[in-house]
């Protein structure tokens, strides 16, 4: 397969937006793993990244804001043959839909969750999100953010996620490899993708990230990974990966119907 086999249309993101890179990295990962587009289901959120629903030539389910994980889980449970990729922004994934993330970590359905984390609500033009830094001034926090930001990686590790990674939209080759590892992982996989909002985020710019980012060589132990996630450092790569039995059911799309008369007779 070629990356273009998964793509359609012309995205309308701002020039220089990290969403372009994430789209390319995902299409390259799918192509290198040779997954037929008919067997790929992309579940999109609502937001700038969520608009990608129009620009992939796979099966797509465009869900509600914060709610890309539940349909992804439902789909994968009934048809395990599908490669299911759920995507969301930091608002959807760590705000509106944070509860779904917590439980997806527990249930371990093999779904890849790509979170486009630009530390702002961007499609609504720049309000503070759950990952905006303390004291940041935005249109919704003119006097500065007072809340401690959500730490996605520490959250996922503590909730029992079996694959936790961080990527950077500015390094497509690295991100592509992360996505491939996540797809091949037998269980739920979170990749928090750092992505500068070139239009609205004047703090966490491309240059800001470039200065701080470095690559991890290999996954760490659980405690070590948790400590690193809580630190001020910004490594990218797989923080933590464990082998835990994934949720699995025989593909229900093929199961024969049940003879209900036997069940009814039990009420005689």
């Amino acid at each position: 397969m070629e990356p273009n086999d998964y793509l359609t249309g012309t995205p309308t993101w701002c020039p220089g937006c990290g969403n372009f890179s994430i789209r390319i990295a995902l299409s390259q990962a799918l192509a290198e793993l040779n997954l037929p587009p008919k067997d790929v289901l992309l579940v999109a959120d609502v937001g700038c990244g969520g608009n990608e629903n129009n620009w992939f030539k796979t099966y797509v389910f465009h869900s509600l804001h914060g709610r890309s994980l539940p349909p992804a889980l439902g789909a994968k449970i009934v048809n395990p043959k599908l490669t299911v990729i759920a995507q969301a922004g930091d608002g959807g994934a760590y705000g509106e839909g944070a509860n779904h993330l917590l439980h997806a970590c527990r249930i371990n359905v093999p779904v890849v969750y790509l979170v486009h984390n630009n530390q702002l609500y961007s499609l609504t033009a720049g309000q503070a999100s759950p990952t905006t830094g303390v004291s940041s001034k935005t249109v919704s926090t003119p006097f500065g953010v007072s809340e401690v930001p959500v730490n996605p990686l520490a959250l996922a590790i503590s909730a029992g996620a079996s694959f936790v990674a961080r990527g950077f939209s500015g390094d497509i080759a690295h991100l592509k490899e992360l996505i491939k590892s996540a797809i091949l992982h037998k269980g739920f996989a979170l990749i928090d993708i750092l992505q500068p909002c070139v239009t609205l985020n004047k703090v966490n710019t491309f240059a800001w990230y470039k200065e701080r980012i470095y690559k991890l060589d290999k996954p760490l132990g659980k405690v070590e990974a948790f400590e690193l996630a809580l630190s001020d450092k910004l490594p990218i790569g797989i923080f933590y990966q464990e082998s835990r039995p994934p949720y699995y059911r025989a593909p229900l799309v093929k199961e024969p119907d049940i003879d209900v008369s036997k069940l009814i007779a039990e009420f005689m």
């Binding site: 249309g9 037929p36 587009p37 008919k38 067997d39 289901l41 579940v43 609502v46 608009n51 629903n53 129009n54 030539k57 796979t58 099966y59 797509v60 389910f61 465009h62 869900s63 509600l64 709610r67 994980l69 539940p70 349909p71 992804a72 889980l73 439902g74 789909a75 994968k76 449970i77 009934v78 048809n79 043959k81 599908l82 509860n99 779904h100 917590l102 439980h103 059911r249 229900l252 799309v253 199961e255 024969p256 119907d257 049940i258 209900v260 069940l263 009814i264 009420f267 005689m268």
Partner: protein, 528 residues
């Protein structure tokens, strides 16, 4: 012969299982039973009652006068003595105490069941068969059988019935679940809530037959998981009550615009908010008819008894898939947790709607004459499309052109044309030329039918499919119209008034209990 038996005591003394065993044994012995439970939102303590109307003719509702009281504690006699009929009989005190001492306190309820079975002049072997099945492999089987026999032998036969052939005995919850299984349901996501918990538990128990039952983190996740499963082509469902449905509403709109089939089982209870979570009400009809932002097509069906719970549950899945829309099966606590002697039938021809054979340029949302577009599912070559929560074009791509928008909205409602032809018509009970007609929906059917035996000049129109609303003008022409509902504001009444441009009379009840047959009689006497 017909009598009302109440088994009463404090919560945790085995009242529900005693009631179910007695009801099943009576049905198996060839009698007709209608049974309903009443309990507070507690696990231990508080007053619990299981009421059974036992008869040699079909029964549809509870009555007010108690003929046979099983008082598992002294307080129960005090609480229920004002309901006693003239020739009532009480099982309590010394008998229960003596055998409870002999066979263990946990067997007290079985002593009572045995005594009632003896009073009803029935064959003990039938009862012991039911107890054997119920407690098979459990340590209390032996003591329960002995306790029931001791209770049975301690009384003299008092009531005699003309038994018919044995029949099924099950609850609305069981019938809804069996209907779903018959319909080929493969995925259920259910967050626990009264009154649908027995449905969740039954489905979970039977899930090894080949379907999935998930308990999601909340109802929002539940309906969205079910929509994801449905997107992949399996028949999917959720079950909930008002509190949970309120959380599902945004996703209901998503099912509407993406035209993803889903069946939502909704057991109403007394609201608002937490309200009285273990009591019944029919107060969410107006809510479900219009729930969800924006305008989209849906079906609302209200089964009215246990048999309809089965038949309409099956139909709900067929309709959801054929018309690619959400179907809400609206019941209430009274019906979900009522048990009836029934035979289960379905006239629905089970047929999977075939999925499209997509070619190049497949239009998942193609404009068609009947509004139903070809549907593909993930895994099908060339069928890739976007099930898009944004307004979309025929391919599924986001599109906000006014021309496309108007056509898409129309397309999603055009379905109603074909649908109206396919839905069962409202059913008229009683004489067509009666001067007065009662209109109602859902579980008020039982008490109304019971009461009608005394009013030959009153007929009853049951509206089962409430959205899309049927044309009922032929039924009501020239008649006095009375609408009876288990709510305060007359949610069907208001609709009938607006839809038919008439001034019906409305009677509501909203104390947490469904009407008894006697209360409907009072209503009709007063309305003369």
């Amino acid at each position: 012969m017909r009598l009302l038996c109440k088994i009463a005591g404090f919560a945790g003394s085995g009242i529900m299982s005693a009631g179910e065993i007695l009801g099943r044994a009576c049905s198996r012995a060839g009698l007709f039973v209608f049974a309903s439970n009443d309990y507070p939102s507690l696990i231990r303590g508080g007053h619990n009652v299981f009421s059974l109307v036992i008869s040699d003719a079909p029964v549809y509702s509870l009555f007010s006068k108690v003929d046979l009281l099983v008082a598992l504690n002294e307080e129960s006699i005090e609480l229920h003595k004002k309901e006693f009929s003239e020739e009532h009989f009480v099982v309590s005190g010394e008998i229960l105490d003596r055998f409870a001492k002999e066979f263990g306190e946990l067997s007290r309820n079985m002593v009572a069941v045995g005594a009632v079975f003896g009073l009803l002049t029935l064959d003990f072997n039938v009862l012991s068969g039911v107890i054997n099945e119920r407690f098979a492999g459990k340590p209390q089987l032996d003591s329960n059988l002995k306790a029931a026999k001791a209770g049975f032998d301690s009384v003299k036969p008092k009531f005699e019935f003309k038994a018919k052939s044995k029949q099924l005995f099950l609850s609305g919850n069981h019938a809804l679940a069996l209907g779903a299984i018959k319909a080929g349901m493969k995925f259920a996501a259910i967050y626990p809530i009264t009154p649908i918990n027995p449905m969740l538990e039954y489905l979970a128990l039977k899930s090894d037959c080949g379907f999935v039952v998930e308990t999601p983190e909340d109802e929002i996740s539940g309906i969205l998981m079910a929509l994801g499963a449905s997107h992949c082509g399996v028949r999917s469902m959720v079950a909930t009550s008002g509190a949970g449905f309120s959380l599902m509403v945004e996703s209901l709109a998503l099912a509407g615009i993406t035209e993803t089939p889903i069946v939502i089982f909704y057991g109403q209870r007394a609201g608002p908010a937490t309200g009285m979570p273990t009591k019944t009400e029919q107060s969410d009809l107006a809510f479900v008819r219009s729930a969800g932002h924006g305008e989209f097509a849906r079906i609302v069906v209200a089964p009215a008894d246990v048999e309809e719970c089965f038949s309409e549950s099956v139909r709900a899945f067929q309709l959801a898939e054929k018309f690619q829309l959400p179907v809400i099966v609206l019941t209430d606590k009274y019906l979900n947790e009522s048990f009836q002697t029934v035979s289960l039938k379905s006239d629905v021809k089970m047929k999977r709607e075939s999925f499209a054979s997509p070619g190049s340029d497949f239009k998942r949302y193609a404009f068609t004459a009947d509004g139903i577009s070809p549907r593909s599912v993930p895994g099908q070559p060339d069928g890739m499309f976007d099930a898009n929560s944004d307004e979309h074009d025929e391919f599924g791509f986001s599109c906000d052109s006014p021309v496309n928008r108007a056509k898409m909205v129309e397309k999603r409602f055009v379905k109603f044309g074909l649908l109206k032809k396919e839905l069962p018509r409202p059913v008229l009970y009683g004489k067509k030329n009666a001067k007065t007609i009662i209109i109602s929906w859902g579980s008020t059917k039982g008490p109304i039918l019971s009461a009608l035996e005394k009013f030959p000049d009153v007929c009853f129109l049951q509206i089962q499919y409430l959205t899309p609303f049927p044309d009922i003008s032929e039924f009501i022409k020239g008649k006095k119209v009375i609408v009876i509902e288990n709510n305060k504001t007359g949610q069907l009444y208001r609709f009938v008034k607006e839809h038919c441009l008439i001034e019906p009379v409305f009677f509501g009840k909203f104390d947490g209990y469904q009407f008894t047959a006697d209360q409907i009689v009072e209503v009709l006497d007063g309305a003369k």
